[in-house]
Amino acid sequence: MSTNRVMIAGSGGQGIILMGKLLAYVAMEEGKEVTFLPSYGAEMRGGTANCSVIISDRPISCPVVHKADIVVVMNQPSFEKFESAVEPGGSLFLNSTLIKDPVTRTDIEIYKVDANKLAEDAGIGRSANIVMLGAIVRQTGIVKIENVTKALKKEFSGKKVVYLDANLLAFQAWKTG
């Protein structure tokens, strides 16, 4: 029996919500219990955005995540705000393209992902979120890689199909911590 609590934070427009939704969707497809809770408010593009995803083998009581075993921060302000939200022994994924400050925590695993740079290399600069999603999935095994690939194919279908190949590349871009 296991429960994973994931918190994803960044700025509005970085695709924070999409990352969370993809994770939640894939987990549901894998037959798990799942909740997804976005922050909401008056802020729009450029403001702060975060969401929480809980994935579990059993019914989930509360969708709010105060402490997470996986925290993803996509920009400097969210790093400052959520570094402390990682459970001891948990993992912090940070977008090292935009976050330059040193990590002060020593009781957690730290994964630096050059997300914007890797996304540019994949030919789709906007998809730093997909690079990061690849990193989380590959490193933690929270959901199966092939199921995310399937979900990406579904997400980037129809008019958006032109972005599929680059996003699949972005998803595979991060190799190692």
Partner: protein
């Protein structure tokens, strides 16, 4: 088992309404429920329904009254201050016996307050802000599936009693996503021409009827009005008996019993597990109907076993008077409360209980 789909709360509420028989939706944007009018605006017309964006919540409730008078099955949604603005209409619909299903995706605070989740509409929805002797059944789901199921059922409840029905959710439920199983769509009436058969009292034109229908709220003569109020009162008493709903969790041996509804009940469910692991016997009564307030599970509590009842709310003790009445004051009631849009953590409620137990000893 039917397919599970991952849906945002507000969209699941809207989808459940359509499947439950909603043919008309009237709405006005307000956070945190704006996804409901957005969803309805593109989805309802595709399914043979009508979407109207009103000029205000006053417009919303009164257009809905018109739709209800004409026999259409109508769904509306809003959030706390918007519901406040509709109170004139709720009173009116009750007095005119016009059915309606309303959803309140509530937020926090009085006045504008904040847009984060809250439960401080308890008094507003259970007591009503409108004039007169009237009642509206209020159901408070705690999971997405609960919400979908009760919205789906509510159109028939509203029609059965010819009275508005309110679903109380909160911003967290409206914004979160969770898998749900959607029920099969049902049809309450075939088309416009079928309304007169389904609702013989509705305004469909007097053609072919022995007597024309009129829907009124005004009664000039005191004796006539009193008689009408007595008639409605009898109906409310019937609703009070027939619509009480609650769930009890581990209350039989519980020294501490929480009372919590909606999102708060989800959190308390986890609190119970943690406390029981620590050897503290805790249970919960989850009122599903807030009006009528479910009394049976409270009557079943034994003061020899249960030493304290905790009303866990995202409001300032608004539910306590109902709990005390249901308990007949046999067991002391304490308040655990977070407000302002803050959703409490399991840990802080566990800590609250541990402190409380020390104080009680």
């Amino acid at each position: 088992m039917a397919e599970r789909v991952l849906m945002k709360g507000n969209e699941a509420f809207a989808e459940a309404a359509i499947r439950g028989g909603c043919r008309f939706y009237v709405g006005y944007p307000i956070t945190p429920q704006s996804e409901i009018p957005e969803f309805m605006s593109h989805e309802l017309p595709k399914r043979g329904g009508t979407f109207i964006q009103a000029e205000s919540e006053l417009g919303t409730i009164n257009m809905s009254y018109g739709i209800g008078c004409a026999g259409g099955n109508v769904f509306i949604s809003s959030a706390s201050p918007g519901i406040a603005l509709m109170q004139e209409g709720f009173s009116f619909l009750c007095s005119a016996e016009v059915p309606l299903v309303a959803m309140n995706v509530s937020r926090s605070g009085a006045g504008i307050g904040g847009i984060q989740p809250g439960q401080c509409d308890y008094n507003q929805v259970t007591r009503g802000g409108g004039n007169g002797d009237y009642h509206i059944p209020v159901f408070a789901p705690s999971t997405m599936q609960d919400a979908v199921d009760i919205i789906y059922e509510s159109f028939e409840i509203a029609d059965r009693y010819r009275n508005p029905v309110m679903i109380l959710a909160d911003g967290m439920m409206g914004q979160m996503m969770e898998p749900v199983v959607l029920p099969e769509p049902k049809t309450l009436y075939k088309d416009e021409a079928d309304i007169a058969n389904y609702k013989p009292w509705a305004l469909t034109g007097s053609k072919g009827k022995a007597n024309r229908n009129r829907i009124k709220s005004y009664h000039a003569h005191p004796a006539e009005l009193e008689q009408y109020i007595d008639y409605l009162y009898e109906k409310y008493m019937r609703m009070e008996k027939e619509l009480q709903r609650a769930e009890s969790y581990h209350t039989d041996d519980a020294e501490i019993v929480f009372v919590a509804y909606g999102s708060m009940a989800r959190i308390v469910r986890e609190v119970l597990e943690v406390l029981r692991k620590d050897g503290i016997k805790a249970g919960m009564i989850r009122p599903i109907s807030l009006w009528p307030f479910p009394t049976a599970p409270f009557e079943a509590l034994n003061p020899e076993v249960t030493k304290v009842v905790i009303s866990a709310e995202m409001s300032k003790g608004q539910m306590i008077p109902d709990i005390r009445l249901a308990l007949k004051d046999r067991i002391p009631v304490k308040l655990f409360s977070r407000t302002g849009g803050i959703i409490p953590s399991t840990e802080e409620i566990v800590a609250f209980v541990k402190t409380l137990r020390k104080e009680l000893k």
